[in-house]
Amino acid sequence: MRHQSILEYAHFRWFKAALAMSVIAGAVYLWHDPPVKPYGGTWLGYTLGTIGALLILWLLWFGVRKRRYVSRVGSVQGWLSAHVYLGTALLVVATLHTGFELGWNVHTLAYVLMVATVASGFYGVYVYLSVPGLMTANRGDETLDAMILKIDDLDREIREKALSLPDQILKVVNASLDGSRLGGTLGRVLSGRDRACPTAAAVRDLPELGKRLTGDVAKLNHEVYTLLLQKHEILGRARRDLRFKAKLDLWLYFHVPLAIALLAALSAHVISVFLYW
């Protein structure tokens, strides 16, 4: 079965729904003739505002629905497809609800948070569509755990073999064995690099250091170098893997808090508007 992205779920069902919603909202907005100028307090403003608020609540509910594995209300794939498209339609509905009237107030705050949430969602969709392919290509047929085990195994092998090497070389090799890191800080995870990676240093320095070696020691040195090359390569891939995973995760650290902040601002907006009706 061909893989189907969430965007084309059910023959673009939710794309069509969102498009219809946006077009209808836009058409009514153009037809509507408000008493002073378009804003959230005309009948159309109230209608669009109600639709927008309900949409926001429903979009927030996705955070609950995706954790309800036993729920049978549609598939999570369908929900996500709808989440993406109706979230986009929300942008249109809410913008028309404002009547393009913005200012330094709680109402515009809610709007800005909504736009920021949707924008972070767009980035999330982009990441979800582009990164997994790169991630698979990077991993090959291994998992991150396998890579780590493999590095551990290589370390053992290197440690055994490097014992007979000259001190100078052993020092460089041991630095790789004892000092190579994976992850640990936000910078390393997000960049997918380690600027001070001892394995990279060892790979760089070993050929030069082993130049004068001869006979069995030279052979052993070459073996160790080969193993270090393997380790370096796996380390690089593991780091890229971390980076991809972080990329898949990071946007949610904005999307979710922004959405929750939006809930607060939206509530303040709705209540304040009717408090001072």
Partner: protein, 590 residues
């Protein structure tokens, strides 16, 4: 190729256990893949790690062929499996042993570094690989943002509004509900901008008319409540048309559509409407209706159906006064007058002061009554006072006049009674009084008398011609009444029409670039009954409709009309007799 594969491991007791397997294939796959002939079931091994091929004996290769998915693509190696050769494949050791009879080769495979025996040194350092394990907060940030916003933009401002029981009534230092203000108020409402409750009196209740009418007490209905169409407006709130927080200019939309909705076909909405249909000034607007005062009240006459006349009870030919050759002045000869000589703008500059005899007429139309004494004039206004002044004047002459004055005034020889030598006799006194009264009566008759009476008098008493043109009836209509003390006169009050279209908003100052006669052509008018109000055609020379038009001022309904009924909205003298019904209701509701 026929290969003997011996998988070697140790059981718990430490004894070596061997599993023999015979493989016949063109090439033998080595890897984690379950389909591999040599299965190395360990995560550290690639899915398809390598191949054993027959090249005049078994050869182990990695990364050359069929192993493109190998993770160790770079490390290409090829090792001939001669008996005794041992190679490391990850944690496994692969050793070639002498091939038994009938086999191409034989190998033993042993896991020498089981995963759980490996001291996980690197694994120990490979912690915190994901954002979550790095402690990047998601829920905490969400919760914090929610709380900050809920408190900052809702609870604090709401605390100001809701007057909670534990609150002190003192004004807070910061008006935190400023952030709830959705947009700027119109300029005139900005003084109460920080005081939301001035209009938003009750929480969760729409702004009530009472709040508006607290200040806008004199605002009227669109039609007075006595008329039936008033029902059309019942239950409407001020805020349905007037929306504030929509910019500093206006709370309503200056839009013909709003008016035309009803007035395009007004009788379908209001059966008894007196106005005619109108939807656009340029092409769908009836001729103007003039408000004209009559003796019995006010009448409204629409232009276009024949000439309109008014009755002001004043004789005034504009043509004479605006004669380009000038008009006769008693001292200065011919004087040229223009409109502004009499029509002076009032304080608002929109309209004109009423014409006053003293200021505008009397310089020429002097009220002298005795040719010999040009410094004396009768007072203008009350005929009885004028008669008294005349009588007193001649009585004084009869007492005090020099011989010259006496003879000029009374036409008989003599002098004032007090200027004669010796005490006057009774007959002299009576004669003096008779002369004075007789002269005063004649003068009064000349001033006030009707033309017939004056003519009759003229035959028996030759009088000044100059005097003839200065009599009151030159301008006024006069009614003579015969009483016991002789005739008395009433001057019919003059009616000046200050506002011909009292409900329109017309600003003369805004039209100062035009000449008066562009709209009010009176240069040929010989009678004061002529009405010189401009017609709609005159206005349309410059004013278009609601749609922009070349060389025309775009003119919406609201340019000239107001929505709310307000008698003389710009008349500073106007005082409503009582507050409007809406204001009265608002006051009661409080």
């Amino acid at each position: 190729m026929k290969l003997l594969v011996i998988s070697q491991s140790r059981n718990r007791a430490g004894r070596v256990v061997q599993v023999r397997k015979e493989v016949t294939a063109d090439w033998v796959r080595v890897g984690r893949n379950a389909a591999s002939e040599v299965l190395l079931a360990d995560p550290r091994i690639a899915l398809n790690q390598g191949l054993i091929v027959d090249r005049n004996g078994p050869v182990y290769t990695e990364g050359e062929m069929g192993t493109m998915t190998s993770t160790t693509r770079r490390a290409v190696r090829s090792v001939r499996l001669a008996p005794g050769t041992a190679i490391d494949i990850g944690p496994y050791k692969l050793t070639a042993i002498p091939a038994p009879e009938g086999y191409t080769g034989a190998i033993t495979v042993e896991l020498v570094r089981p995963a759980d025996n490996v001291a996980p040194e690197f694994l120990a350092r490979a912690k915190k690989l994901t954002l979550a394990s790095l402690g990047l907060p998601k829920r905490a940030v969400s919760l914090a943002l929610f709380v900050i916003l809920a408190v900052g933009v809702f609870l604090l401002p709401a605390g100001r509004v809701l007057h909670l029981p534990w609150q002190q009534p003192a004004e807070p230092v910061v008006a935190t509900d400023r952030f709830w203000n959705p947009g700027p108020l119109i300029l005139s409402h900005q003084p109460i901008q920080e005081k939301c409750e001035a209009c938003h009196e009750l929480p969760f209740i729409q702004v009530r008319d009472a709040a508006c009418l607290e200040c806008h007490q004199r605002i009227g209905h669109h039609v007075t409540p006595e008329f039936k169409p008033a029902v059309l407006f019942q239950g409407q709130r001020c805020a349905q048309c007037h929306r504030d927080h929509k910019g500093v200019r206006s709370t309503f939309r200056d839009d013909d559509r709003f008016c035309a909705d009803c007035h395009r076909d007004i009788r379908s909405r209001a059966n008894g409407a007196q106005s005619q249909n109108a939807s656009d000034f340029a092409h769908d607007h009836p001729p103007f209706r003039l408000t004209i005062a009559t003796d019995t009240g006010v009448k409204r006459v629409r232009q276009g159906a024949g000439p309109i006349e008014e009755q002001s009870h004043l004789a005034f030919p504009h043509a004479v006064h605006l004669d380009p050759a000038g008009v006769r002045h008693p001292d200065k000869g011919k004087v040229k007058l223009d409109c502004a000589a009499c029509h002076e703008p009032d304080a608002s500059k929109r309209n004109f002061e009423p014409i006053a005899m003293a200021r505008h007429c009397q310089a020429c139309h002097r009220l002298e009554f005795e040719p010999a004494v040009t410094s004396r004039q009768v007072p203008h206004g009350r005929p009885a006072e004028a008669v008294t002044v005349i009588r007193e004047f001649y009585a004084n002459l009869a007492l005090n006049a020099t011989q010259d004055s006496f003879e000029k005034a009374f036409g008989v020889p003599g002098a004032g009674l007090l200027r004669r030598t010796g005490a006057p006799t009774d007959s002299q006194r009576r004669e003096a009084l008779r002369l004075a009264d007789g002269k005063a009566a004649r003068v009064a008759m000349q001033l006030f008398g009707t033309r017939l009476a004056a003519t009759g008098r003229k035959s028996e008493q030759v009088s000044d011609e100059l005097f003839e043109v200065r009599v009151c009836r030159t301008c006024h209509e006069i009614v003579q009444k015969e009483g016991a003390d002789g005739p008395s006169w009433d001057v019919t009050p003059v009616r000046q029409n200050p506002r011909w279209m009292p409900d329109s908003r017309f600003d003369h100052a805004a039209h100062a670039q035009s000449k008066c006669t562009d709209c009010h052509d009176v240069t040929k008018s010989k009678r004061s009954s002529d009405v010189a109000m401009p017609s709609i055609a005159d206005c349309r020379k410059c004013h278009g409709g609601s749609r922009p038009e070349e060389r025309k001022v775009t003119s919406s309904c609201m340019l000239c009309h107001g929505f709310h009924e307000q008698k003389n909205p710009w008349d500073p003298q106007f005082k409503p007799r009582h507050p409007t019904r809406l204001a009265a209701e608002a006051a009661r509701a409080r």
